[in-house]
Subunit: 297 residues, 4 copies
């Protein structure tokens, strides 16, 4: 298939590489062009604008940092919306706001283009190892056309209906669950440490009794070890995502006091210069509040 | 071994039965004597007071509802403290406050008796199936003497040092982690439902991506199904335990805002007559706050 | 002076009337024209667009419901920005977001126009009685030019520097203080009622010991009487304002957990159909959580 | 009248002095006897035990630091309960838990003694200046007998019914309102400071628009000035009182999320060694969370 790919960061680059590896014809665009060249050397066409990457493509992916980056790439001059032909499909894999996802759905519909929302669970290592879990929502026919591409990216796929923004709500809800668990673990480690329990002992118990879940165990281990650097997913991104959760919750009229708590804590971390710690750093903040060690930026 | 067992509720009865089955000589006491008779028929001696169950025992277990019940059984006239001989060991498996555990440690020491704190993770079904996970803390020699008994009750054992109350902190921290996850799931289901996602679809995703943990999956399923009755563990017990968490946290000077949130929500549920719902009922409260269905007592 | 006035709601109408009464030449615009006619009968010129109200004016006021209404009036075709001549000053009295206030400052500066932010404290009765308290921020010369107009509207004026959006931060902070007190009073009345104290008795005490402040006493009386209708300021507006507070706080990196709590509570009220209760209705929610009476929409 | 007075701290000493000055016959007890001697020089009898201070008294006051101190003084050997004759009345002015107040009511009733709960609002300066506001609850006849004494202590009296512990609930609710306002002010000052508003300017506005209440203005001034030392009422006492509020609220089944927030913040302050700051120090914590200045112990 003829595919465009916009956004070659830690997540986008391995995703694009898998699509290339699956035999598709790929045009890639990245703001910092050097990253695009790497794929150029493997046979991708390097585009100089998002629009150029979209031109003639059946499907064009975007995998970008935030709402702002997506808006620029889509709506800017020489943007994807202008470049993609009628009938082309935009597959949006970034973690963006529900409101922007709704705007994209409308804009592409007006342009006679398709729009599929396909955010993913998994960190860069999972992207490398084709172990992402892909959420997907959008018009049935369009989802089906993209299905083989999405299956090439990960270990599983959840189809979430025909309203594209629903996939974004679910992605944000997932990040909310993870952050909740981080906060809970942070508070629990602070309490047990003050009772003289070695973090390692509580971690082993958690693994034995609770978890058997790679996600939760990973964060429990980070907190147990006080290892917040380098960040796998930075605190400032946690702040961004909890902001998106609360925005979606506000629009849907769903009070989420736990999400508010998480957002306030991430905001406090960022305000104090800790935005580049891993988002498991809620554990560091909980320890500090308890009079244990101070977090180091 | 000569063993006493006080408290034959949903948890205590199967635990006592396993000890009997392992060939030990058992004396049992329960406030409602009928339950004790059942074990009497299988060879246990039925005592008429806690003290009588303790008399002559090398080890005496207690498995009771709360601090109040434990205080009565231990310190009352004809209580366990008076009945247990010097050198006897009290194994306390109830979920009690850290402060009471400290008091027990002192009282038994003064009486020349041993005290081992051994709370467990697992519901009545797990107790039946010898699938409990046992936490244990106390003087090394005493823990070692009790180890075969504790191993007869479950699938695993975590030894948490020589300070008995530490095991209570860890047990409460575990319940705190579970309640945190329940609240997070409750809020996430409310948000995704309002976005038009079927609870079943979000549940499947949760199972696929996050959990692979029987504890979390169980609660996610209860919330997805809106099934809060009959309670496996009632909301009023959740309230009790979060109260104990906050008490321990206060004594240790550990601010736990998430635990405060959980306690307030359980308290609100109980205040409104929902105390007998399963503690997963935080999900019902989150749905109600969002203008979805009202909880039914 | 030649003045325009856009927005003749409960607040705007009496404000415009006072300006007219002070002898100024007034052009007025309101979306629902009937309200403008009332002032027309008293000598104001009735404009058919915001731009027309601004044309030729030295100063043009806006007093509108929210960000959205302000954006339409300012940036729309035949809007205020287009109609106001170079050198004209826009005085914005609406409670709007800090971000929009910043955008207005930039837009007017680009158009060679002045921008003064002048939100007010006080309900419609205070506006009628010239008892508003006016906050004002903006370039010194422009503030001075508007000062006599602003003094004609109320009983006092606080000048808050040359950065116009600062006045919006302060206005939002004031509403946040009021909502905080409402929540605190709501919880305190729920607690004392459950201890058998008559709300009237606690109210008298509050008046005697704490308050001597018309704002706080007013809300204490509403909660003591359970009088949430008709709304002086509706819960859905409380939700809006707490949203603006948190937005400003997020941009400034200030964690405000109390504001989060207030927003969640207002959101829950609105989600359940109580958006038209007075924002003192936090007291009704606190009572309900305590198992006292249910709020009635 | 023959009066005993136990507890001559910052509050108790001036209260006792006023009673002496009103012409009553006074016996005083204080753990640190030096303070009692000062009153001895003015004509009071210095007792060596609480029981001795109570012996032969018609009314005996207690004004002590916390539950623990009251329990010792009342129930200890040579305690007040043993020393006070039948028909004597204990007037308890300390800020204690509702649960202890209930216990006291029962114990005195069993001993044929009266019990009047009479906590006060006001700091030491107010006690000196006879400006306290006294809450009182208890059996009508007993309250009437004590009324002249209570009126000699302050500027006003609120009679709160015949259930003595109700006065304690109201006292705790009052402290909860103050702490709520402190937190709200703390967050508002942090937000406005980040917007470039001088604390002094926001303070003036608060005084002009909101307050006209000495209590709130005092705390606003402390926060505006960052003046948290010496403490008028220390953070660790704020923690104690918020703990008592939540305990009472738990027993009465009243969820108070704002009280939980306050308690967590005080607990965090104390855990980090700031327990001796004034309880207005919530303002210091809010500023720190926002990345402004760090609190200094």
């Amino acid at each position: 298939m003829k595919i465009g790919f916009v956004g070659l960061g830690n997540m986008g680059l391995p995703m694009a590489r898998h699509l290339l590896g699956a035999g598709h014809e790929l045009a890639v665009y990245n703001r910092t062009q050097a990253k695009a060249e790497a794929l150029g050397a493997k046979g991708a066409r390097v585009a100089r604008t998002p629009g150029e990457a979209a031109r003639g493509a059946e499907v064009v992916f975007t995998m970008l940092a935030d709402d702002h980056a997506v808006e620029e790439v889509i709506f800017g001059e020489q943007g994807l919306l202008a470049g993609l032909g009628a009938g082309g499909i935009h597959v949006s894999s970034s973690t963006i706001s529900v409101a922007l996802s709704e705007r994209l759905a409308e804009a592409h519909a007006r342009a006679g283009q398709g729009y599929v929302s396909a955010p993913v669970f998994g960190r860069p290592e999972a992207a490398e190892a084709k172990q992402l879990w892909v959420l997907v929502a959008g018009a049935k026919a369009e989802v089906e056309r993209c299905r083989p591409l999405l299956e090439a990216l990960g270990r599983g796929l959840s189809v979430l209906g025909e309203q594209a923004p629903a996939a974004n709500v679910v992605k944000l809800s997932g990040n909310f669950l993870i952050a909740s668990m981080i906060e809970a673990l942070g508070e629990a480690f602070a309490l047990t440490r003050k009772a003289g329990i070695e973090p390692k002992a509580f971690l082993e118990l958690f693994q034995a009794v609770f978890a058997r879940s790679p996600i939760f165990e990973r964060y429990a281990a980070l907190i147990a070890g006080g290892q917040y650097q380098p960040p796998g997913f930075a605190m400032r991104l946690g702040l961004k995502d909890m902001g998106l959760v609360l925005e979606a919750a506000g629009d849907a009229q769903v009070p989420m006091p736990l999400a508010s708590l998480l957002r306030d804590n991430y905001l406090g971390g960022v305000a104090r210069g800790l935005g580049e710690l891993d988002w498991a750093g809620l554990g560091a903040l909980a320890a500090e509040r308890a009079g244990l060690d101070k977090p180091t930026p």
